[in-house]
Symmetry: C2
Subunit: 187 residues, 2 copies
């Protein structure tokens, strides 16, 4: 069937939903939900996050030059949605959600205890792109709950049960299908 043509639109999905924790340098901590994320580099692992300039979390990152990416499981979906729909200027999101702040090793921003994975990040760069900010963070330390790891100490994505997001809807990750490289072994 013939395809329909549309003007430019954000049609590439889904992405993992993460909780980004930041601080204002005066002891006030915040949480924001972000889905426009990617891995950027393998050597000296860096990640990218898209965030609007008006966000308190963006100002915190710009000033403190550090943040933590906390990866939640589906059991935290309500807290994740709340942190995306509320504003740090108006509400203490740690208090409101009951999420627990833990001290990080290399940054002043907090780890969220209930998230099975936490990535401590130093701000490397902020690129302004068409009114958005692409925040590049260099990962300095990773914390993982051993109950989501397999025997090889790799993440088991069915145990992690991450939240993925596409066009205003949260999804589960479905079944594993194939390992990368399988097409070579078929021949």
């Amino acid at each position: 069937m013939l395809k329909k043509e549309f003007d430019a639109a954000n049609a590439m999905y889904p992405f993992p939903v993460v909780l980004v924790t930041t601080h204002d340098g005066k002891g006030k901590h915040n949480i924001i939900t972000v889905a426009w994320t990617t891995n950027v580099s393998r050597n000296a692992p860096c990640i990218g996050l898209s965030m609007g300039s008006g966000k308190l979390s963006f100002q915190n990152i710009q000033n403190s030059r550090e943040f933590v990416v906390n990866i939640p499981g589906h059991n935290l979906l309500e807290q994740v949605d709340f942190c995306g729909e509320s504003h740090g200027e108006e509400v203490d999101k740690f208090a409101a959600t009951g999420l627990t702040a833990q001290k990080a090793s290399t940054v002043g921003a907090k780890l969220i205890k209930q998230c099975p994975i936490n990535l401590e990040c130093m701000l490397k760069e902020i690129y302004r792109i068409e009114g958005a900010n692409l925040i590049i963070g260099q990962i300095r330390k990773v914390h993982m709950d051993p109950t989501i790891l397999d025997e090889q100490q790799k993440i088991d994505y069915h145990k992690l049960d991450p939240i993925v997001y596409a066009q205003k809807t949260y999804y589960r990750v479905g079944k594993a299908q194939q390992k990368r490289g399988f097409s070579k072994h078929d021949q």
Copy 2:
């Protein structure tokens, strides 16, 4: 249980797997599989792709300043894996996979007919980050197969059946759980 600490690692997943088509300006077209992708901006929609400098596709993008992001369904998993595991210098990936090249509206790179979504992109910027290239493309035109759209002309992700990737494994998208904003309506 106490978390384990690890050094920096790429632990944030999954991401959508896309097929990026490029050309060398002399009529030679290529396909590369990319999973480290994100949406960057909403106004004048831009996307980001991470790609190594050694790739033919990267050289094509750098020279032609354009590319197409083609979003495959799971029915193309074998072709997707092949395009990620083979090299454009050695093999004509269109011929080898049987994927069909179609003329795009605004760029010289081809649309893959069998992919239900195609995003025509102009290169906006290439950022070098720790040995990787973060390619920023501005979406100029979107093509969508009407059979993956719902009544509101929005993408139905169960019909699209996109491939998501996490640590060397391809997954399906699972069930839709909640709409964004649901936590507000619970109160």
